[in-house]
């Protein structure tokens, strides 16, 4: 297979205007499958989460999972869609061993949700509206493992093994309208769109939304047209791009590849492309052909789903605050700058800060702790900051000890070590480790006398008005008290002692 010629992204953008489209499949986290009562569980032994319905045995009758319908309606509402008063299922007919029935039960002309939109905020704050064509209910297919041949790829495999545990898992497929006008921000928009969908379904609690497990999967459609041309170019569809980064890279690569094809005077072939994470390129799958003649027809074994307006409004009332609105609200409440807030979001500590503020810390103190000590430690330990084991209460207590002057920042860091080592609450650790700042002036005055006696020349300088020389004496005192003195208080006492104005 020869490598595709590509143009630089910049040159592609100079010459062409990209149009995007996405199909995002979301696996619902219902307890059971879409049409059977077999469990919807990831990672179990092969072919153990199946029954006769999932295997498509003759004479079986599928029954719709009510919870899956409700989740689908919630997704539709969160995507600002209209919810169909009545909709039905359809059979999508094709022969492929991932589908034991030889058809996938899906929706065709009557999706449960349609005509929505999602406002996507890009990194610099630009808001881009993506129109949603439809969101429909369907079932997932089984998992094929290609054996023999080269590296588990389907090309050249000797045979394939099929596990139907995933067959029948409820899916919602979200389809956008063609996305025009993104220009050079198309790859960034692609990533941001899929991230937003993932965040929404996770926030709704209807999907585990783990891309690495295939809970959210993206097919990315890309086409190019010369600037100023109304008509869309011929598109390619890159299948199963399953990480946010990969979505961005795949769109970028396809733009570059299409541009090179068009530049050479050839038409783009309308086809499926496979994404390869290792080389960050796509390769040709199959050309669209009559294999895509799915002969949809209404599913005779299932009756229509009627979503009464009462039911829809009941479900709407259960929707959580949308993630984007929540972010806006929190930033305003906390008074963070755009940059500060973005850093907090990117570090994954927004929820933790919210909990810490709720537990009684100020927004600035919560940010200082999470973005400082905790993010640093989490990075070292290679875990998410929220999983480090520091509770919001710990932060509130620790911060309180510092603000009351009981411990200094350096000690606070040691106290945090103690908390993570399971030594107890911050107050207990201060006690046990003997970390309290020395605030009794008695021992300090002794240490100051000793330091002044040890450095008489410095003492003389200070007396003579060179107050900046005081650092050497403060340093001596801090050393003598093993860092447990309040440096500010030490300075005051030295000046007092020498009768010098600070």
């Amino acid at each position: 297979m020869s490598a595709d010629t590509i143009l630089s992204f910049e040159e592609a953008m100079e010459k062409y205007d990209p149009v995007l489209g996405f199909e995002v499949h979301v696996e619902l986290n219902t307890k059971t499958k879409m049409f059977s009562s077999a469990p919807n569980v990831f990672g179990d032994d092969p072919n153990t989460n199946v029954n006769e319905v999932d295997l498509g045995l003759p004479g079986v009758l599928p029954v719709v999972n009510k919870a899956a319908v409700e989740s689908s309606i919630k997704i539709g509402l969160a995507l600002n869609c209209k919810i169909a008063e009545s909709c039905r299922f359809a059979r999508k007919n094709y022969f492929y061993p991932d589908t034991p029935k030889n058809f996938q039960t899906s929706q065709y002309d009557e999706p449960i949700a349609y005509d929505g939109y999602l406002d996507i905020e890009l990194e610099d704050g630009t808001v881009f509206r993506v129109e949603i064509e439809r969101a429909h209910m369907e079932e997932d297919a089984g998992k094929l493992t290609h054996m023999g041949g080269a590296a588990g790829r389907i090309q050249g495999a000797d045979y394939s093994l099929v596990d139907y545990n995933r067959a029948g898992v409820p899916l919602v497929e979200i389809v956008t309208k063609p996305i025009e006008g993104a220009g050079s921000r198309a790859p960034e928009l692609a990533k941001a769109y899929v991230a937003a969908v993932r965040e929404i379904v996770k926030n709704l609690g209807v999907s585990d939304a783990r891309m690495e497990r295939g809970n959210v999967r993206c097919d990315a459609n890309v086409s190019l047209r010369p600037h100023g041309q109304e008509r869309f170019g011929i598109r390619s569809e890159t299948k199963n791009v399953n990480s946010l980064r990969a979505v961005e890279h795949a769109v970028r690569f396809e733009i570059q590849r299409h541009a090179a094809v068009l530049d050479s005077g050839q038409p783009v072939i309308q086809e499926t492309r496979h994404w390869h994470e290792d080389t960050r390129t796509t390769t040709s799958g199959r050309a669209k052909s009559d294999a895509d003649d799915y002969r949809y027809f209404p599913e005779p074994d299932l009756v229509p789903v009627v979503a009464s307006r009462e039911w829809v409004e009941e479900l709407r009332a259960t929707l959580p605050e949308p993630p984007a609105a929540r972010r806006k609200r929190l930033q305003a409440d906390w008074g963070y700058s755009d940059l500060e807030f973005r850093d907090v979001v990117n570090a994954g500590v927004m929820d933790s800060i919210e909990e810490t503020v709720a537990a009684g810390a100020s927004a600035s103190a919560a940010r200082k702790w999470w973005m400082g000590e905790i993010v640093g430690r989490a990075k070292t330990a290679d875990v998410d900051p929220a999983d480090l084991g520091v509770s919001p209460q710990t932060i509130v207590e620790l911060n309180g000890l510092v603000e009351e002057g009981k411990i200094n920042n350096k000690m606070a860091s040691q106290v945090l070590d103690g908390v993570l080592a399971g030594e107890g609450t911050p107050a207990e650790i201060v006690e046990k480790r003997g970390l309290a700042v020395v605030s009794d002036d008695g021992p300090l005055l002794e240490a100051i006398d000793a330091a002044l006696a040890a450095q008489p020349d410095v003492a003389e300088k200070i007396r003579g008005g060179k107050v900046q020389a005081i650092g050497a004496i403060v340093g001596g005192v801090m050393k003598a008290t093993r860092g447990q003195a309040d440096a500010g208080r030490v300075r005051e006492l030295i000046l007092e002692k020498l009768g010098v104005e600070g």
Binding site: M1, T30, K31, T32, S36, S37, A38, P39, D45, P46, N47, T48, N49, V50, N51, E52, L55, L57, V63, V64, N65, K66, A67, A68, V69, R88, N93, F95, Y96, P97, L144, T145, H146, G148, G149, I154, Q155, G156, A157, D158, Y159, S160, L161, V162, D163, Y164, T283, S284, R286, D290, D293, R295, P298, E299, P300, L302, V303, P304, V305, V306
Partner: protein, 98 residues
């Protein structure tokens, strides 16, 4: 008479993975045309006041609560499989080397 030609039948046969001889294709083209016409007569019977329907029984919202029911063991699931390996259905490779 509905227009179902030999090519239509050959196309459908390919999609449905049905092997048909030249003679069968010819015969089926004629028979299918009659069948399509017969089905069409239903739409003549239905007046404007009859809504389109995909189901003969006027039912909707036949739902199941989201409660786990029975499952097969892998052995049971594979009991009718023509071939199996590693507790999975074994099927021929689908695509050839590109």
């Amino acid at each position: 008479m509905a227009a179902i030609n030999r090519d239509d039948v050959a196309h459908l046969a390919r999609l449905a993975h049905i092997e048909m001889s030249a003679e069968e294709l010819d015969r089926m083209a004629g028979e299918l045309a009659v069948i399509v016409d017969s089905v069409k007569s239903v739409s003549e019977a239905a007046g404007e006041d009859v809504p389109a329907t995909s189901h003969p029984i006027p039912l909707s919202n036949v739902f199941r609560e989201d409660v786990v029911g029975h499952t097969f063991t892998a052995e049971q699931a594979l009991s009718g499989a023509p071939d199996a390996a590693e507790d999975r259905f074994k099927v021929p490779a689908i695509l050839d080397e590109d």
